[in-house]
Point group: C2
Chain length 589, copies 2
């Protein structure tokens, strides 16, 4: 594939290549090689980029990104791999001093990579400078054997990602030249002195980039495919009885089925617009950073972390809901959904475990909340903390809940209340003598809730803006607004406690919101199949007996079963195990 | 294994055999053969039992239970396979008239079974009598080849259950003797006339038995194993920073980790006591039915269906929570948790899709609710509908929520309110002219909520009784009561909307309940490992690098990876794919 792309002269970031990756559903090898290159481009000096990028883009080296360790994950300061500068030889000594320091999980590492960007704790002149990236060669370019001092291999089978050779890597005092430390933002001089050229937050920038990209490319993709398959199947499958004496209705006509699938279709659109928004914000901040302006980095970090945690959870859970909504056939691999789930669920853990990310967002929110008290300026995404809604909801009937202003204010109030409540709880604990870190831990369940509510609020806000921007296409706008309403009201319905607890909604108003929500399900019915057709997947991309465009579900299932090689083999179990029993005495049958 | 059991003279229902199945974690073949035998024992006449059970228990026939069809699942009346009586030959003609009638999913069918209990629509003398069970031979006892008119095979790969050959079965006018209709409760006489000997609900009895048995044997088992693995791992794994400057704490000391795992440990105990209760109730009703008293069958059906739907969902979701709580290592198959999940999640669908079951329970609840208006007697499990709590909760501080009376009343109020609200909504819809079936469909999302709340209430009630019964063992009682409190308060915390909406709790009281709940997490910390040790799994049963009793997590992972045969092979990818690139020009490295 790589050779073909080169032959055709396609740009690695161009539309043809984007199409190829989408068509192959990410089931390719050497994906982390791109992260290797992106890391060098982002964190390397111009000389380092000039040296390594041509080698990497011509596949004369194959790279991976080695950060996570056997004993250490999201908490980067805990990494144990060391890089100790030896001024005598002008080399770094890379070492994994104990078993828990073994690099563990990097993709392409198990059997493919020749080089790795290794994240390690930098020591120079006896002083520790924290985590920095180093290029380390791990395998011979001649015969691919591990270099001396390197122990490398595959970490074994996983829940999915059979196409990736996730690996482990132990390094015993491996020496690399001083020039192999990626030095755009910090550097070790020949005498061992350490020079910082920017915020050390920049080291986190690769992670932010990955989090931003995965939203659209991996996470949303899975939910869109699952929605396409399950909505199409629901428009074919007939089951049970609705009107006595009538034929079995299509299952898409059951309110309970609509309640499973339609909010997820709306969620696809919500995450789509959110991913676009985060991507734009990322590029804006990236430009600022290239100009050494790091002001927006904390907000970008919080936005990307929060959305990563929010979207991966909602999309993973959503894929399972779609699968189960296909009944027994959803459990067959022929449905195409199980493999979507076993893959996308990993995203809740990789690139930052979700709970840890939520707590990072919460820390940012607590800082913003404190800034309100000192009247310091707030980043745009938390501006609402300075002017919380003070009146309860004024909706007087179900239709009032179709006003975006009404539900956006409800989400704002909810996020504000949960953030304020967590902040006050912590203040009270500290006020009554608890140490800060214990107060934080005792509030962390509520802090996670606050972070979730904040991200959820932002998705609703972004969705509303997207609807507004469609004003010159009124017919499309009407459909997308219904999706936006559904997304927002579903969230109120399923998180009702938060909206009730702080008195923003009354029980009666929740009834109204529920009525509006259930009404939208019925309205969405006629658009549902079209709304997933719009995701534009070919049958070859879906690889689903249930989700093909022609709806020929039962025929597909039976045909695929007949094609199964298992059905063409003679059953060895009969001769070996069953026959001795069946023939043990003369049968009377 | 079967031969060994016979050699040893162990009872199929005895403790040795129970231990074997537990040790093998259900990863055995011919499991449906037991269902085949149970069905015959329950629905067959004494003569049928005398003929078939000895054959089956000596494995001279291998049976399966063929109910689900390609186009039809939970809705039994929709099954299309027919059994037409031919009085001339005294035979039934079994037929799958079109592709959607193909039997699909039966275990052991794909490659093993010689016989099947086939569920088919009975026709006699031109009249339809609904679904009945028939014994049909499908494969030759001599050479195991499909009999004439039979098309049988494996349905292909699934999300799990690689050990089971789920199959498909088409039957083209297969003739079986009249005696092969299981006739304990209904019979076709030689002249074709149909005789009913009891409630036709009895045909559902096999399903009820399976639902009751699966609670303990399949569903709870998965959650107990996942809890054991994740709690043990959490007591070993260290991560991040709590107290500045201290070493990384064990992750079990984080409130967010406790909030994920401890309520699930409590849930294991809740489902354990519930399964015991349902099992006893089942046996009581079974005895009544043997005496032709069918009065309690509707209540048993609702109880088993509701608990099946409630427990399979809560246990499946719980296993995934446990897996994710192990971070990246939870995603490795070496953790032992992915295979628990991919297996147990199937239970949400098989033996009755959960939403359909909830709606069946809801129908029972609506009948009971209507019975209150007419002052008819209510079954014990819904007696609370006749005397709903009228006062709001009186708790005045967090400690008040540790009184089982307080939270049980809250659950009762919640279940009552949701049931009453759904009933009133339907009444209003019908009152304003909607047809009954449309009113039902428009209320079905709320009906499912009501069913869930009812089952949830019952589990809390059963758990409280179990605590009370421990009064002569005060130390054990104290621990189990804490679990009961945690289970109940976690449910209030995560379903807060229901408790607030109808005014039973105020926002302030919910705060108190939350405080009590979070306080319990900290209290459970010291017992947590012991509480999962008590589930009594050996390392061989858990098959987990993370969950072994000695806690030697990192050593295990590395050792298992090294043992992986993948790491002993020469990598063919290098020669074929990588070398041409790496060697394409002379490298400068």
């Amino acid at each position: 594939m790589k050779r073909k792309i080169k032959e055709m002269g396609w740009d690695e970031n161009g539309r043809e290549v984007e199409h190829i990756y989408r068509a192959l559903g990410g089931e390719t090898a050497l994906n982390i090689h791109n992260i290797f290159m992106k890391t060098i481009s982002a964190l390397g000096t111009d000389e380092q980029i000039a040296k390594w990028i041509p080698l990497a883009s011509n596949y004369k080296v194959l790279g991976t990104y080695a950060q996570t360790e056997l004993g250490h994950g999201t908490y980067l300061r805990g990494l144990e791999t060391t890089a100790t500068f030896d001024p005598k030889t002008q080399e770094f000594i890379i070492d994994t001093p104990q078993i828990t320091a073994t690099k563990w999980w990097p993709g392409d590492l198990g059997k493919s990579s020749t080089h790795a960007v290794v994240l390690a704790q930098l020591y120079s002149n006896g002083k520790k400078y924290g985590m920095h990236p180093f290029i380390v060669q791990i395998r011979s370019l001649k015969d691919h054997s591990p270099l001396p001092g390197i122990s490398v291999g595959d970490i074994g089978p996983k829940m999915s990602f059979e196409n990736v050779d996730n690996g482990f890597l132990m390094m015993r005092n491996i020496r690399i030249p001083r020039e192999n430390m990626l030095s755009r933002y910090s550097q070790v001089l020949p005498d061992g002195s350490y020079v910082k050229k920017g915020s050390d937050k920049i080291n986190y920038f690769t992670m932010i980039a990955v989090r931003v990209n995965m939203l659209r490319g991996e996470v949303l993709e899975a939910l869109m495919k699952a929605c396409t398959i399950s909505v199409r199947y629901s428009a074919v499958r007939r089951q049970s009885e609705l009107k006595p004496g009538d034929i079995e209705p299509k299952i898409i006509d059951y309110q309970t089925q609509q309640q499973k699938l339609f909010p997820l279709v709306a969620t696809c659109y919500a995450i789509h617009f959110t991913a676009q928004y985060v991507d734009k914000f990322y590029h804006d901040v990236y430009s600022e950073i290239r100009k050494e302006d790091f002001n927006s980095l904390p907000e970008l970090h919080a936005l990307a972390a929060g959305m990563k945690a929010y979207a991966t959870e909602i999309c993973s859970n959503g894929v399972e809901v779609c699968r189960k909504a296909c009944g027994g056939h959803g459990y067959s691999l022929y449905s195409g959904i199980p493999s979507l789930y076993t893959k996308v669920t990993a995203s809740c853990t990789y690139e930052g475990e979700n709970t840890v990310l939520h707590l990072q967002v919460a820390r940012f929110l607590m800082k913003c909340f404190a800034a309100v008290q000192t009247r310091s300026p707030l980043p745009a995404s938390t501006a609402y903390l300075s002017s919380p809604a003070t009146d309860a909801c004024t909706a007087r009937n179900a239709a009032d809940f179709l006003d975006p202003e009404v539900y956006l204010t409800a989400y704002e109030f909810r996020a504000y209340s949960l953030i304020a409540s967590a902040a006050h709880k912590m203040q009270n604990l500290v006020g009554s003598g608890a140490e800060q870190y214990l107060a934080w831990n005792s509030t962390s369940v509520e802090l996670v809730k606050a972070s979730l509510a904040h991200s959820h609020y932002l998705t609703v806000k972004i969705f509303i803006s997207a609807v507004t921007s469609l004003s010159d296409q009124p017919e499309i706008k009407a459909v997308v607004k219904r999706l936006c309403d559904l997304y927002a009201l579903h969230g109120i319905f399923t998180n009702a406690g938060d909206f009730l607890q702080y008195g923003y909604l009354t029980g009666k108003q929740l009834d109204m919101a529920t009525t509006a929500y259930l009404g939208l399900l019925a309205e969405l019915r006629r658009d549902a199949v079209l709304l997933v057709d719009a995701f534009d997947y070919t049958d070859e991309q879906l690889l689903s007996a249930l989700g093909s465009y022609d709806g020929n579900v039962y025929h597909n299932l039976l045909e695929w079963a007949h094609k199964n090689p298992e059905n063409k083999k003679v059953n060895p179990v009969f001769e070996t195990y069953l026959k001795p029993f069946l023939h043990s005495h003369s049968s009377k049958l």
